[in-house]
């Protein structure tokens, strides 16, 4: 049983990992065929992965409905939302636009999904402003440097800010857009490059650990 439960899965990760890695560096017909097959397979496997989210969402709201738990009435709307997309999709055969204009699916996208998804993230704008007011403290030299960089970026990205800059600092001869370009191309590159190199080393080590079966937390417990 251990063989099926543990050793074969670990062998799969090792074999696909090593072969995929090797095929990157050894371009010949066999490796191309191998990677092409794996590409198609991976594409299909991943197309099932989202079912994990779907099933757990439906399970939890179905249970709420069944038990009439607190706020169970709202759970109905999870299913309403789901079918408000899936039924029009079925009716329209998956097409969103025809020569005649929007299909029912296109309509659902434009007026339901677009409005909901867009607003969910737009709300964050309010929180970033109140956080800026309440928590942006210039207490140390480091915080001051962060503030100066942020200040220049926020000011210089809008025309009104550029006008203010020109009025106050125009005599220096450096436009705020030049300063922003410099920040983005020099010190920010240095900071980000350090992070990038650091992360890449970490990622390579983790990937090797996965291939060689040292890191196997994703497999869960026995």
């Amino acid at each position: 049983m251990k063989l099926i439960k543990k050793q074969i899965p670990l062998a799969i990760v090792f074999i696909t990992g090593v072969l995929t890695l090797v095929s990157y560096y050894v371009p010949n017909k066999t490796s191309v065929n191998y990677i092409e097959t794996m590409n198609k397979w991976e594409n299909i496997v991943v197309a099932f992965a989202f079912l994990l989210g779907l099933v757990s969402l439906f399970f939890s709201h179905y249970h709420k409905l069944k038990k009439k738990a607190d706020g169970w009435g709202y759970s109905i709307f999870v299913f309403v939302g789901f079918f408000a997309i899936v039924i029009p999709a079925y009716v329209s055969g998956g097409k969103q636009m025809t020569d005649a204009g929007l299909t029912p699916l296109g309509w659902s996208f434009k007026y339901i999904y677009n409005a909901l998804s867009g607003t969910m993230f737009a709300v964050l704008a309010f929180y970033i402003v109140s956080t800026a007011y309440r928590s942006f403290r210039i207490k140390s030299m480091q915080a001051f440097v962060l503030f100066v960089a942020a200040f220049i970026l926020i000011l210089g990205k809008v025309p009104l800010g550029q006008m203010i800059w020109d009025a106050v600092l125009g005599w220096t001869g450096a436009g705020v857009n030049n300063v922003i370009d410099w920040i983005m191309q020099v010190p920010a590159v240095a900071g980000k490059r350090g992070i990038m190199i650091g992360i890449s080393i970490g990622a390579i080590v983790t990937s090797l650990k996965i291939i060689f079966g040292i890191e196997k937390q994703y497999m869960g417990k026995d």
Binding site: Q96, Y113, M120, V129, F151, L155, L160, M184, K192
Partner: protein, 274 residues
């Protein structure tokens, strides 16, 4: 007494701040300030020049990977890029790896293809959504028909005029990925670097600073960043759109944040030292 008042002001109910932001952002929409974007970042003009220099008929691949949650920043960029490509009579292919972007792509082409009198299948092709980007990007290096056989409406790709002579990256002149995710990183790592195809990008302002290193090494041939970038590109192609009006609306809100940060820090200084 004065100190207490200040402290009270500092601890103001945050909903007043919410209201203030709502007003400073909504009023310019009703009554635009009329302050257009004037400056153009170097990275944005690099994207423009890379498209501008292509001979008519070249094949450009757009990877539009954004959904409604980042639409206001990225949709105007995608519009401007496609308009630019169509005005230069380039052949356009579109791929996507984000499920939510399919509706936006339809919306874009329904509008822009009419402006330039372009036909689906002849001048452009929209390929269907695919869930696993790595697999598709790797596959397209040898034979894109190994994974894409039909367009998003089920029309077979074989013999489609727009794809004539296009089999893999070697046949593409430029790839531009517009996204609010890490998908641009994949294009750089798995396609640009490996097969030496020029890759450029359009990203949200949030991720823009992170691409500095790739721009410096020329792994990225150019980058459009956020609403400002969209406005810049619109002014480069001389077709103001939602990016231009957007940046106009942001004017007051940007100043509001700066004023708020300064106010709270000055209050705290006064409370501390006086």
């Amino acid at each position: 007494m004065f100190k207490e008042k200040l402290q009270k002001f500092f601890k103001i109910d945050r909903r007043w701040i919410f209201l203030l932001l709502a007003i400073t952002l909504f009023v310019p929409i009703i009554k635009p300030l009329g302050l257009p974007n004037k400056t153009i970042a170097e990275a944005t003009s690099r994207v423009y020049e890379n498209i501008e220099k292509l001979p008519p008929g070249s094949f450009v691949l757009f990877s539009f990977d954004y959904d409604p949650s980042t639409r206001p920043e990225l949709h105007p960029m995608a519009f401007a890029l496609v308009r630019h490509a169509f005005s230069r009579n380039l052949r356009v292919g579109v791929v996507t790896y984000i499920a939510g972007s399919t509706g936006l792509i339809e919306e874009l082409f329904a509008k822009v293809s009419k402006e330039y009198n372009k036909t689906d299948g002849k001048d452009y092709v929209i390929l269907p959504y695919m869930p696993n980007i790595l697999a598709v990007l790797t596959q397209m290096s040898s034979d894109l028909y190994g994974i894409y056989t039909k367009d998003r409406n089920g029309t077979p790709l074989q013999d489609m005029p727009v794809l004539k002579g296009v089999k893999n990256y070697k046949d593409m002149s430029l790839i531009v990925c517009v996204t609010g995710t890490a998908i641009l990183d994949y294009w750089v790592a798995f396609v640009g670097d490996k097969y030496s195809v020029p890759v450029a990008g359009g990203v949200t302002a949030i991720s823009q600073p992170g691409y500095g290193p790739y721009l410096q090494t020329n792994q990225l041939k150019g980058l459009i960043g956020g609403m400002k970038g969209a406005a810049e590109y619109e002014s480069l192609i001389k077709q103001p759109g939602k990016g231009t009006s957007g940046i106009d609306a942001l004017n007051l809100a940007h100043l509001l944040v700066l004023v708020l940060i300064l106010t709270s820090n000055i209050i705290l200084l006064i409370v501390k030292y006086f």
